[in-house]
């Protein structure tokens, strides 16, 4: 028996197929993963993401602390509620985790980190926080529900009072705001508009029921994975880990090299790596029928026998084609071959995202 979120009983009641995910008993799907995927692309779906860890960091030197801990620069956060996506790196540049950090007040930041990495993340953060007198509190008293899709914001706003509804509908992308003990952010992991709602665990089941009553479809980890992959978003453990740095993981845009005098953990190695040819994370579209899967070998035409590897692959329900993220040598030509069960299949390097706001963004012909 694994750990259970405050919504576990709701999932079971709704007929979820429960699987282990990083030690948590989580819903994989509630009947059809593909229908849940389409619900998010076309209307509104909701995910229990309470297994992720919410960590509050506070103290007089918290900003200074985070400017050294994270590869992106929290100095970019100028107004309260603003969110920033970033990696937390080892000194050798390897990725400990990817996370979102919210600017709550001058002395308070909130992080949301992955479930499977929570223990090592907290140990790492606490170790470095000590020197800055920053307090690190894991908010196990909170649950989190992600409501995603073109109609998600309008439907989810019904949870709030009329004046709060007006306010929450004004939230800009990648901003959050507090409503009493709730925190609502316009963020997500699907390529659709929506909210991620952090609420006291004791409110979770009631909120879930009310969202159901709004016609929001529960969606499991299966749909979450196909949606994020279509959106070209990385999954920690698949697309990056402690053995690769963010520049080879499609995450160069999250590393703030400017200002040049900001000394963050991993900087020295990345400064060298950015001048080397190396590898890059790209999108793949399979030209044949079949399904791309992680660890399949990618043969590139021009890189002197170097092979790449699929890091995440799936069947895209929106495109009706198989898509993937793959790490390949940087000079690779667009036409590649992928080894699937000992046979070579043609595939094409494309630029993610594959799908955004319900629309295909790549040429399928």
């Amino acid at each position: 028996m694994g750990l259970k979120t405050p919504l576990y009983d709701m999932h079971v009641r709704q007929g979820a197929k429960i699987v282990d995910f990083g030690g948590w008993d989580m819903p994989l799907h509630y009947g059809s993963q593909i229908e849940e995927h389409h619900a998010v692309r076309r209307d509104a779906g909701m995910f229990d993401v309470s297994h992720m860890a919410i960590v509050d960091l506070s103290g007089g030197h918290v900003r200074e602390f985070l400017r050294g801990l994270l590869a992106n620069d929290v100095e970019r956060l100028k107004s309260f509620g603003k969110a920033l996506y970033t990696c937390m790196l080892l000194p050798n540049g390897g990725v400990i985790d990817d996370l979102i950090v919210y600017f709550m007040s001058e002395t308070w930041y909130r992080m949301v980190v992955n479930a499977g990495t929570r223990d090592k993340d907290l140990a790492w953060i606490r170790k470095h926080a000590l020197d800055f007198g920053v307090s690190v509190v894991e908010r196990t008293d909170l649950a989190m529900i992600a409501v995603q899709g073109p109609n998600a914001r309008r439907k989810a706003a019904a949870l709030l009072s009329p004046p709060q509804q007006a306010s929450v509908m004004e939230l800009k992308a990648f901003f959050g705001a507090a409503y009493g003990s709730w925190f609502v952010a316009r963020t997500g992991y699907t390529g659709e508009d929506g909210f991620e709602i952090m609420i006291p665990a004791t409110d979770a089941a009631d909120a879930w029921s009310r969202l159901l009553a709004q016609g929001i479809k529960p969606a499991g980890l299966g749909a979450r994975d196909t949606l994020r992959l279509e959106a070209g978003m990385n999954l920690y453990g698949n697309d990056m880990n402690e053995d690769v740095h963010p520049l080879e993981s499609g995450l160069a845009w999250t590393v703030a090299f400017e200002p040049a005098d900001r000394d963050f953990i991993g900087r020295e190695v990345l400064e060298r790596a950015r001048r080397e040819p190396g590898r890059e994370l790209v999108g793949l579209l399979l030209e044949d029928r079949g399904v791309l899967r992680s660890h399949q070998k990618v043969l590139v035409a021009d890189a002197a026998g170097l092979a790449g590897e699929v890091t995440s692959g799936t069947f895209s329900p929106t495109l009706n084609r198989s898509i993937a993220l793959a790490r390949v040598p940087k000079t690779s030509q667009p036409a590649v071959q992928v080894e699937i069960r000992d046979k070579l299949h043609p595939a094409r390097i494309v630029k993610p995202p594959f799908v955004r706001h319900g629309k295909p963004l790549i040429d399928l012909s």
């Binding site: 059809s32 299966g222 329900p317 198989s322």
Partner: protein, 132 residues
């Protein structure tokens, strides 16, 4: 979990079903339990007509959004037909695993009396045992 087990078919421990026809012709597919465990199917690869299969040989692939799974020949024989409709509509296998979702037909060899096949009730007991 969906667990329909028709009485008139035979079964394997790897969740294939076998429908015995006349004169050694057999039809093969995967069970309702198997399709339900796999989830939404998105790709099916069936063996080419004319291919000779030995019993237990991996000869077809069914892939759902989450995983790929091999299908094994329940008995030896030569492939005489395959279900081409699955290429365009793999979901037939979810909707009708014992009918429109059939995978291929074999002309079984003379020595194809396969003692390892289970009856419907034996397969049900096997499923009950597996889920413990």
């Amino acid at each position: 979990m969906s667990n329909n087990v028709p009485r008139d078919l035979q079964y394997t421990k790897s969740h294939e079903w076998v429908r015995q026809g006349q004169n050694g012709a057999v039809e093969i597919g995967i069970t309702d339990h198997a399709q339900s465990a796999l989830g939404d199917l998105v790709f099916v690869e069936v063996p080419d007509v004319g291919r000779a299969l030995s019993a237990g040989e991996a000869c077809a692939v069914v892939e759902s959004v989450k995983a790929a799974s091999d299908v094994y020949a329940p008995l030896a024989g030569k492939v005489v037909a395959n279900n081409a409709a699955l290429a365009g509509k793999p979901e037939l296998l979810n909707e009708d695993p014992y009918g429109a979702g059939w995978l291929f037909r074999l002309q079984a060899g003379p020595a194809a009396a396969a003692p390892s096949l289970m009856s419907a009730s034996a397969y049900e007991s096997f499923l009950a045992e597996e889920s413990k």
